[in-house]
Structures are given as structure tokens and as C-alpha cells.
């Protein structure tokens, strides 16, 4: 199989996005809880965040004219890939403690790996990223590994 991944692409493995700093509000947790149809009182009241609440914090906040035509902000962590059809893959999170209102969090995304495999219908590129959420004081909150597949 021909190598699709250039040295320039592979050189990006190990790089990180600039840290995102957020102050968690009860209202943000309540919005997330209601919009996902939660039933637990602690989530609806915003006392504690549901397990996937942190997902929105990796969304870059940009004005509309800086978004792509499909509305997505370009992911600066992932280099342009030679295969363009990108499918959402897996998400696996290890939890250390819940997110609560008033938390001041530091979120870092790292490009952990990019590799290619021969699929049944052609080559596949796997992109693995890690999102680390800690408090400003350095207490671990969660670590999420996500993977995307390009074909």
C-alpha cells in the first residue's frame, strides 16, 4: 500500500492545541441537562454536570464568517488529510471527579496518533486525539480519547 501520510502530517503527532480555560456555571449545566433530556435532579438543577457535558468546551467560538461552508470551525489540531470523507468514531473517557458549578477548568487537546490501515474498500486513516480536563489547581477531572476515521 502506498504511504498516504507524509512526514509533514506525521510530524504533527504529539502537538497540542492552546489550552482552553473555562469557568463552569450552573446555568450552562442546566442548559445541557435539559437539552439532553436528563432525568436526574442533580443534573437538571445544575449541581453536577452529566458525563458528556465537557464536549461543548472543545468547540471553538468563532464568528460565522470564519467558519467553513458547512458551519464547522476548522480543527487546527488535525492537519489536512489526503482522505476527505471523515466519519465520527469512538469516544472513551476516564472520569476522576464530576464537574460542578464554579469549577475553573483547563482543557487541552493533543494529537495522539495518525496512522493508516488497509480497509476492505480502500485505505483508511485513523486520527486519535486526547482531551485532558483538569482544574486550574491541577486536579485531574477527566481524560477522553476520541478517534476519527477518514476514508
Amino acid at each position: 500500500m502506498a504511504e498516504l501520510l507524509t512526514p509533514e502530517i506525521k510530524a504533527r503527532i504529539g502537538t497540542a492545541s492552546p489550552a482552553i480555560r473555562v469557568e463552569v456555571t450552573r446555568r450552562d449545566i442546566q442548559k445541557y441537562a435539559v437539552s439532553t433530556g436528563q432525568r436526574a435532579r442533580k443534573y437538571l438543577d445544575g449541581d453536577e454536570a452529566p458525563p458528556l457535558f465537557h464536549f461543548g468546551y472543545s468547540m471553538e467560538i468563532l464568528p460565522p464568517e470564519q467558519l467553513r461552508k458547512d458551519g464547522i470551525a476548522e480543527d487546527k489540531l488535525i492537519p489536512p488529510l489526503p482522505l476527505k470523507r471523515v466519519m465520527a468514531g469512538n469516544s472513551d473517557t476516564a472520569y476522576h471527579r464530576p464537574i460542578r458549578p464554579g469549577d475553573r477548568l483547563v482543557i487541552t487537546r493533543r494529537l495522539k496518533d495518525i496512522y493508516e490501515k488497509a480497509g476492505k474498500t480502500g485505505p483508511l486513516i485513523f486520527v486519535v486525539t486526547e482531551t485532558e480536563v483538569k482544574t486550574e489547581a491541577g486536579e485531574p477531572v477527566l481524560n477522553e480519547i476520541t478517534s476519527l476515521i477518514a476514508r
Binding site: A40, P50, P64, D70, G71, I72, A73, Y95
Partner: protein
């Protein structure tokens, strides 16, 4: 809420149906700040990207299977890990069933591993998942 002592591999977790309407989907994408047009712009999703309708966000459906676990444990256990895999898309108006089953139980650590699923109306598992919880 389940008692750790009573839990057995093979136990089914209570399942729940979800049918997201356009208002709920709007609220979700606003809450997570997601401007991806396939989730709110019907003409764009169908004409430009060829989808049969407005696409439900993968992480929203991942959250639905997460709720199978968090509703089951209540405050009797903590979530140690949770994962899901987007295998197949789902569209606005579809009813999705979230459920799970106990796969393993470790007496020493008081941890329970559950397998999770989201199924569409045709019974296809569109999002499998898994979680580990630790009982107090």
C-alpha cells in the same frame, strides 16, 4: 436503584426511548455551541450533503446511552469510565432506544461493567457503548 449485592451479569438496565424534536436539537446544539448546518438546516443537509433529513448529533445520542447508566446507579455508584462508538447516523424524527446489560462484576473493587446500546426502530445497534461504575 440497584444494590451491588443483587447485581448479576446478564441483568438488563432499564431502557428508554428518545425522539428528539427540532426544538430539542436546537437547544442541544446551542448548549454545546455547535453551528454544524447538518443539525439545523434541512435544505443544506438534504440538498448539499445528500442526507435523508436533519442529522442527530452523535454525542447527543452518546449522552442518551450514558443516561442509561447514570439513571441506573443514581447516587449509589460513581462513573469510572464511559465510551461509545458512532456506527450509523440517525435523523430527526427517529425514535431511538437506549439500553444496557450487566457484563461483569468484581467483588473486590465493587466495580460493575455494563454494555450499552442505542438502537433504531429497525432494531439495528447504531451506537454501542460500555461503562464501568464503582459502587460505594
Amino acid at each position: 436503584m440497584p444494590k451491588f449485592e443483587d447485581i448479576q451479569p446478564g441483568d438488563a438496565l432499564p431502557s428508554r426511548d428518545h425522539t428528539a424534536g427540532i426544538v430539542q436539537l436546537f437547544m442541544y446544539n446551542a448548549a454545546i455551541w455547535n453551528p454544524h448546518r447538518i443539525h439545523f438546516d434541512h435544505a443544506y443537509a438534504t440538498q448539499e450533503e445528500g442526507y435523508p433529513g436533519i442529522v442527530l448529533d452523535g454525542p447527543l445520542q452518546g449522552d442518551w446511552i450514558g443516561q442509561v447508566v447514570t439513571d441506573w446507579i443514581g447516587d449509589d455508584a460513581t462513573l469510572v469510565s464511559f465510551g461509545y462508538a458512532n456506527r450509523q447516523a440517525a435523523f430527526l424524527g427517529e425514535t431511538m432506544t437506549a439500553g444496557g446489560v450487566v457484563e461483569a462484576k468484581d467483588e473486590a473493587s465493587r466495580e460493575v461493567r455494563v454494555g450499552l446500546f442505542l438502537k433504531n426502530a429497525r432494531g439495528e445497534v447504531t451506537i454501542p457503548g460500555h461503562a464501568v461504575v464503582r459502587f460505594r
